[in-house]
């Protein structure tokens, strides 16, 4: 007979962001457990609210299938004594297997006879198997764990009750002092504790107690209610998926309601209003049909509609207090000019081992101007990026950002415009923080992109120079994220940024007298490696083959964009018919060139040539060297690949390690030259060619 089993873990309110991953984990761990236990079932239905994680397993078998299994014992010569009687070893073995010596048969294995017995293992009952779910429940892991009372056990929040019901029977087990039972609890205020007759009653029984246990249904219920409100009022409400998910996991019985705030607050920038509503109060904000913010909000109560006017009034009051603060800051902040704020940044520390924020801006202005020129910005753009760099952190000392830290940059843009800065400068101030997360949006404007690179590069260089280099999971200043930001911005804008440019920017800081009292130069190589490491992570994430990634990252090319292009080109050619031959020819050059004593490498002396292949190779290498700086990477690869026959002929005809020292050095010099040219395509030795 097919059975249904219900498991419910009742908890004090879990953090909203933990609920969905936790129920997934419970389902996954249960599935794995049942599979290991070889017991069949049809499906697992998940239920989750802030106060419960539950699963309903349908179509469960009565028991595990029986198993007949052959077990190997000792060798025949050990199993029988010299008189042909069963030895202690044989008797012990059979006892251990729950059979008798009469059950023994012999079989040959690799020329030796061994004892074998047939063993019948009866499948365990479904009740026994399900009792083992205790370990699944206690084995759950959570991002934060806590202890409570006098227990040492740790969990996401205290466990309050456990339901384990197989059809109409309780499956007994116990965690701490809590025994499994058939009692579940309804909504904290509207519902009561109820007794479940059968595992299948769960969802309906809870609905009667004001709990929508199915998270999907709860979410869709909230969505429907909000959409209804929107259509009744002719509003547009954007259902931010993260907020909807969070709200779903904050309530068991959702009732959406609307509230309003004084129209006078609409003079505050939308971002501030939205942050106050969405991030601080978990409200949905409301737009009119033209996308204009309206002085209303929608929130969701954990309860029914009774006395909802209290809830509305309370929420309106809280929002009004927040907006009144925001309005105050907005007005106060405008009493000072940007120059006043910049002045204040002279006493705000960027990091106490590095410099003030003001000094950072001075450096970033020099870096941005220096990079901007090389990246082909117009004079006007360079002027804008320099202006932006001189002021871009000013909003950090405004009252609004002091109160709403998440609005840094956003308020910078607003206040810059109010202070008469041009829109390009203002936009760059906002965009310099981007990307805010590993895959967050990038700056849209060129000026913003250059400022973003300069700001991040300065942070990485100065932190490295001050000895605060990320290691392992220790990256308190999120320098890896900033490095990823640089890599993504140059890639998207197709900008060439290499170590030489970084060196030049540092020199420019020194000449402009804004360099920090730190040795940044000594860190350029390490920073280059740090950036390349981010490229590696990016490429592997894009499923570029490991050997290609290793070849790219292992090469000496420090141009970030080139690294991406090389990876692309090598990947594109990997399936060429002659790829193997080409790479073998090129890597042969790399290997032999390694034998060259760098101090003895000279210009190639044609008078030392003794066969035809030598001048041919020289001509070919000179030709590549001449074109190298003009060719793009795909074309450069083709030029290198075309060397294959010349290289092969050369090695067929030429003994590089000649006895004559002069001849040998001449040949190694030739190959070194070629090797340097090849390495621009990466360390091809890392490629695996089949």
């Amino acid at each position: 007979m097919a059975h249904t089993f219900l498991l419910e873990i009742g908890l004090e309110e879990m953090p909203a962001h933990v609920v969905t991953p936790s129920i997934k984990q419970l389902v996954q761990k249960t599935r794995k457990y049942l599979k290991e236990q070889r017991i069949s079932f049809d499906d697992i239905t998940p239920f989750s609210t802030p106060r419960r994680l539950a699963i309903q397993i349908s179509g469960l078998a009565d028991k595990q299938p029986d198993i007949d299994k052959e077990v190997k014992g000792p060798a025949k010569k050990i199993a029988l004594d010299k008189d042909g009687n069963w030895s202690k070893a044989a008797q012990g073995f059979t006892r251990g297997q729950g059979v008798t010596v009469d059950d023994i048969t012999f079989k040959e294995l690799k020329g030796t006879d061994y004892v074998y017995v047939e063993k019948h293992i009866a499948g365990q009952s479904v009740e026994t198997v399900l009792a083992g779910l205790k370990d699944v429940v206690t084995g759950m892991t959570f991002p934060t764990m806590m202890k409570w009372g006098s227990y040492h056990f740790e969990y996401i929040r205290p466990i309050k009750w456990l339901v384990a019901l197989l059809d109409d029977k309780v499956i007994p087990f116990q965690i701490l002092d809590i025994k499994t039972d058939r009692q579940t609890r309804g909504h904290r205020f509207l519902g009561k504790t109820i007794v479940l007759k059968n595992a299948t009653d769960y969802e309906d029984a809870l609905t009667k107690q004001f709990v929508v246990a199915d998270a999907k249904k709860r979410k869709s219920e909230i969505k429907t209610q909000i959409e209804q409100i929107a259509s009744d009022n002719n509003w547009v409400i954007k259902l931010n998926p993260d907020l909807l998910e969070e709200v779903t996991n904050l309530v068991e019985w959702p009732t959406a309601f609307t509230g309003s705030f004084d129209e006078k607050y609409l003079t505050i920038p939308d971002e501030v209003l939205i942050t106050s509503m969405r991030d601080h109060q978990r409200f949905f904000y409301v737009l009119d049909q033209d996308g204009k913010l309206l002085p209303h909000f929608v929130s969701v109560r954990n309860g029914n509609a009774d006395h909802i006017q209290n809830v509305v009034a309370g929420n309106e009051r809280v929002l009004a207090a927040r907006l009144s603060d925001a309005m105050f800051f907005y007005q106060e902040d405008q009493k000072l000019t940007i120059d006043d704020y910049v002045e204040k940044l002279k006493s705000v520390s960027f990091h106490d081992k590095i410099s003030t924020m003001y000094e950072k801006m001075q450096r970033v202005a020099v870096i941005a101007a220096n990079l901007g020129q090389k990246l082909g910005l117009t004079d006007a753009q360079i002027k804008d990026v320099v202006r932006a760099a001189h002021i871009y952190k000013f909003d950090l000392v405004t009252g609004m950002v002091g109160e709403f830290a998440e609005l840094q940059g956003v308020m910078g843009e607003k206040y810059a415009l109010l202070n008469g800065e041009n829109p390009v400068v203002a936009q760059a101030i906002r965009e310099h923080y981007m990307p805010i997360s590993a895959d967050g949006d990038l700056p849209e404007s060129t000026v913003g992109a250059v400022l973003a690179i300069a700001d991040k590069l300065d942070s990485i260089l100065t932190f490295f120079a001050a000895g605060m280099i990320p290691s392992g999971s220790n990256d308190p200043y999120a320098l890896r994220r900033q490095a990823t930001g640089i890599v993504r911005i140059v890639r998207t804008n197709k900008w060439h940024l290499d170590q030489e440019m970084v060196d030049a920017a540092i020199d420019a800081e020194t000449s402009a007298n804004v360099a920090p009292d730190l040795d940044q130069k000594a860190q350029v190589k390490a920073v280059g490696g740090f950036l390349k490491d981010r490229i590696k992570v990016t490429l592997l994430g894009e499923k570029v083959k490991h050997d290609v990634v290793d070849a790219v990252i292992g090469g000496p090319n420090t141009d970030l964009l080139d690294n991406f292009t090389i990876a692309q080109v090598l990947s594109d050619h990997q399936n060429d018919d002659d790829f193997k031959g080409t790479i073998e020819a090129l890597t042969r050059v790399l290997r032999i060139a390694q034998k060259a004593d760098k101090s003895k490498v000279t210009a190639v002396d044609t008078s030392l040539f003794d066969n035809d292949s030598e001048p041919k190779l020289k001509a070919a290498v000179d030709n590549v060297a001449q074109q190298a700086s003009e060719l793009d990477i795909p074309a450069y690869y083709n030029v290198l690949a075309a060397l294959k026959p010349v290289i092969n002929d050369y090695f067929d005809a030429t003994m590089v390690m000649a006895k004559d020292e002069k001849v040998k050095n001449n040949r190694l010099s030739q190959l070194s030259q070629l090797s340097d040219l090849i390495l621009r395509m990466g360390d091809l030795n890392q490629l695996i060619v089949k």
Binding site: E13, R188, N302, G314, V318, A320, S349, D352
Partner: protein, 308 residues
Amino acid sequence: MTKKLSMQQIILTLQQYWSAQGCMLMQAYDTEKGAGTMSPYTFLRAIGPEPWNAAYVEPSRRPADGRYAENPNRLYQHHQFQVVMKPSPENIQDLYLNSLKELGIDPLEHDIRFVEDNWENPSMGCAGVGWEVWLDGMEVSQFTYFQIVGGLEVDPVTSEITYGLERLASYIQDVDSVFDLEWGDGVLYGDIFREPEIEHSTYGFETSNQKMLMQMFDDYEGEAKKQIANGLVHPAYDYILKCSHTFNLLDARGAVSVTERAGYLSRIRRMAHSVARAFVAKRKEFGFPLIKDEKKRQALLKDGEDKK
């Protein structure tokens, strides 16, 4: 809302209620501090194996939050109603919700939520897990299960409930500014506290003697360390509290740079760690008198020599 309780009626109601739940009614501790958690009735008593149930009002001074009585919700000094129960009772959430009912807040007429908020006080080496309690969208209490106090893992766990009395009262009395709250008998909060708010804001932001405060911090720190070495836990703890408040005054004055700030905080943290250890040792010397189960008490007195 059926009745509008005055501030003092709210305090009396909470005291009445929590004493009935087995809490001892302590009095506010007479050394300046930033939060009820820093009272020895919470900080020290949360450490070690002895049970502890207490409730008290704690005036909490936060010099940087002073607003010259011009902001309706921000104060140099506000009042917390603090409840600590160790080990945390199984029904602590229900006990809390019932306390709201005592104040006339019927959960069926409001929206009450437990929203995740993990609390940390790095300068005192404390961390806990819990919630902000929202009443119709307003945070009216902090609810914490302490996990680490003074750098020591707690065992058993203390549950702490901190009611923000001004906020709660503003809600109950339906006023927009704390200065309009009725403290009792027709006397308004502003009648009592407007002047000290203005004066303390002026002092904290404008006229405090930085040099003297810095010197005092050093002196208090020296004294705290000396008294820890002498095994005098409570005098030492008083000086740690004085250090903390003195630092807060310096910080409000903008006299502390970012570098120095970290330095001051780590000095306070080190003292908090050593006083926590000293407290447990001292309680053990006294024989953990609050443990009434004799067998357990003897076992605890015997073991643990190797634990620290």
